[in-house]
């Protein structure tokens, strides 16, 4: 089992401990069930309809910009690792500059479209 195997073991044991923490109350806690126990909590008002309805589109637009950025930042991490090696010299800086310039256009575009200022 390598270091990565250990990490997966930690994750698995984390799940097991979480389940254990939920099993204990179900053994010792009271089990009351009345007419209102299972109602959705909405400050005492009866629930109207489901919560799974149409939602503001602005959230979706943020998700789109995020995908564009996050994937590009992942490419930048390997670049940052070898950035200081002498064989690359100033070429490395120029390439990072061009890359970030194109990336910034995503913000400029979203800004012009009014996504960031939350106009609808």
């Amino acid at each position: 089992m390598t270091d990565y195997g250990q990490l997966i073991a930690y994750l698995g044991i984390g799940f097991a401990l979480g389940i254990a923490a939920l099993v204990v109350p179900s053994l010792i806690a009271p089990r009351y069930k009345g007419a209102e126990t299972e109602k959705t909590y909405e400050c005492g008002v009866d629930t109207v309809g489901s919560a799974w309805i149409r939602f503001g589109i602005s959230f979706y637009l943020f998700a789109l910009i995020f995908v564009a950025f996050e994937v590009d930042i992942l490419y930048l991490f390997p670049v940052a690792l070898v950035f200081n090696e002498e064989m690359f010299g100033w070429r490395a800086f120029v390439e990072v500059f061009i890359f970030l310039l194109i990336l910034s256009l995503a913000i400029v575009y979203a800004w012009r479209k009014g996504v960031i200022r939350w106009t609808r």
Binding site: A29, K39, T40, E42, F62, L81, F83, N84, V96, W111
Partner: protein, 345 residues
Amino acid sequence: MPRTLLDIFGNPFIATGVGIGAVMTVLSINVLFCIWFERKVSAWIQRRLGPMEVGPQGTLQTVADMVKLLGKQLLTPAGIDKPLYHLAPLIIFAPVVASASLLPFSKSVALSDLNIGLILVFMFGGFAVVGIFMAGWGSNNKYALLGAMRSVAQNISYEVPLLLSALSVVLMVGAQGGGQIEIGDEVIQLNGLNLSHITLAQTSGLWFIVFQPIAAVIFFIAILAETNRAPFDLPEAESELIAGFHTEYSGMRFGLFFFGEYSNMFIGAMLATVLFLGGWDGPLLPGPVWFFFKSYLLIFVMMWVRWTFPRLRFDQLMAFCWAVLTPLAIVNILVTAFALKVVNG
């Protein structure tokens, strides 16, 4: 270089057992302490006494609360999406354990020493977003859904300046001492994504907060937003959304969310310590003391901020991220890259 538990014990099963024991002990003590500490800090700021009844100065209050939570009935509302609802607390809780094991707290011992530690910590941090959305969507409650939507939008947005400010540190690491460092008779090739190498790069010179003050501030603000702390606590804004995404969770399920939240805060503070404050580096006292002292100092600042600043409006929050922090972080990377090329020729 820190020796890992695997090097010390040889047997991977013993190493994992000891590691998980250590991580759970530290995380549990941290959560118990932080909740008490937060209540005391808020009381101090508002000129109250805070918890005083259970134990000296109310120190055992959180233990009493935990016992109470264990004895509470787990209410399951009708009309939920069952798999999502039941899995959500676990998805938030489990990655915290793995993530905490990655951080290098001492010069001599570490739980694990991975070459992509930084990326892995961010990856496990990303799990929280999935868990929050599962909780909010699965509850079939309008407040929970609103809270979850806000939380996801906020978390993914602030992830961008968070990663960009960490990136400028990764750039710096490879340039320290020509990318190599000597410890005793060993020469180590510095790797910018290995958390103990990031600390080592700072022990030989100045801490990165001196070279990267802007990145440090951006990182700290982004950590506040990622952990849903005030002034960025819109997902759980109690005055408008009851409790946000965990409105429908009671008893120990709520306890797991709380555990995850305070542990994430702790991991965020530890990561900021490693990246900008030199990790275990410090005079006189042993490394782990310095490491945890710096982390808790950052946690104190987080609490101070929470009880000082009012909550932002949601559009202000998103505009602040995309129109201020992200462009600033990009410019910071460019300046860093330029300066490194000028200095190193």
